[in-house]
Symmetry: C2
Subunit: 138 residues, 2 copies
DNA sequence: ATAATTGCAAACAGTTTGCCCCTAT
DNA sequence: ATAGGGGCAAACTGTTTGCAATTAT
């Protein structure tokens, strides 16, 4: 991987971000430094950096993906209303080994993912009392 | 919600599926019974059924959403290569309560999600020895 | 020198929507 | 009878790709 100015700035922006920005977010922030960069370049770099494990992609089918400068294991809280992703400020005690060996032997288990979901503080305040997550729960 | 023939068949197809089909998958299967149904109708129904908690949408993955006829809590294994989602054939011991009360008070935590990911048995066999998940791991 | 990378635009995939007709209640 | 739902196509959003020009190594 060549270290171009674009890649450098994208990476800096990302490493400085604590909010797990979307590709658009990154694009907007990078453009303040490199106004002529194209969205395609941002996508290509996010892809390459993800492939090389420099950053992490938080996937979200249907909506926008988000990118995480932290590649060491940690867990997230996801807002089901606005899509915001926050790091959990505490550890979650997760099982260290998979109980079923027959199951494990048949596939390659690479890792696991845990997250809480709900309403972030802002959406919670804005929606106090309203039923907004699907129809009848919350 | 009116019970139309289309909704009925979509629901039947889904309840019979153990593989967490995508909207396309559902469309293909439903078309064997109702060849004239439109993809839009399938999407609209999957959306409504999800909103009414009749089915579940599996959305934190790349690519297409998948749909799950089981709405009671259970966990998944996701293949990072083909996207397939399987139910885990065992229970995962997850934390029952969130350790940090200050954190909890500020937002509305609705639930949590846990999954293993890796290569399903088919992709594992096909890719034995190859490095296919991102660049240098596996 | 040359292979990787860029900007740009066009293409793509998945999903949603508007409109007008139809049908379950 | 009438509001909710269907079919169809067009629109939309997020992401990827082809190409010719540029740049890090």
């Amino acid at each position: 991987m060549r270290m171009t100015r674009q890649r450098q700035v994208i990476l800096e922006v990302l490493k400085r971000s604590k909010d797990h920005p979307t590709a658009d977010d990154v694009y907007d922030r990078v453009r303040k430094v490199l106004p002529k960069i194209s969205l395609g370049t941002v996508y290509r770099n996010l892809e390459n950096l993800t492939a090389d494990w420099v950053i992490d992609r938080i996937e979200n089918a249907g909506g926008q993906n988000r990118f995480d400068p932290t590649t060491t294991p940690h867990n997230h809280f996801r807002c089901v209303q606005c899509g915001r992703v926050e790091d959990l400020p505490f550890e979650v005690p997760l099982p260290e080994q998979i109980p079923d060996e027959t199951w494990t032997r048949e596939r390659k288990v690479i890792g696991s993912k845990f997250e809480y979901y709900g309403l972030c503080s802002e959406c919670y305040r804005l929606n106090a009392g309203k039923k907004i997550f699907r129809k009848e729960r919350l």
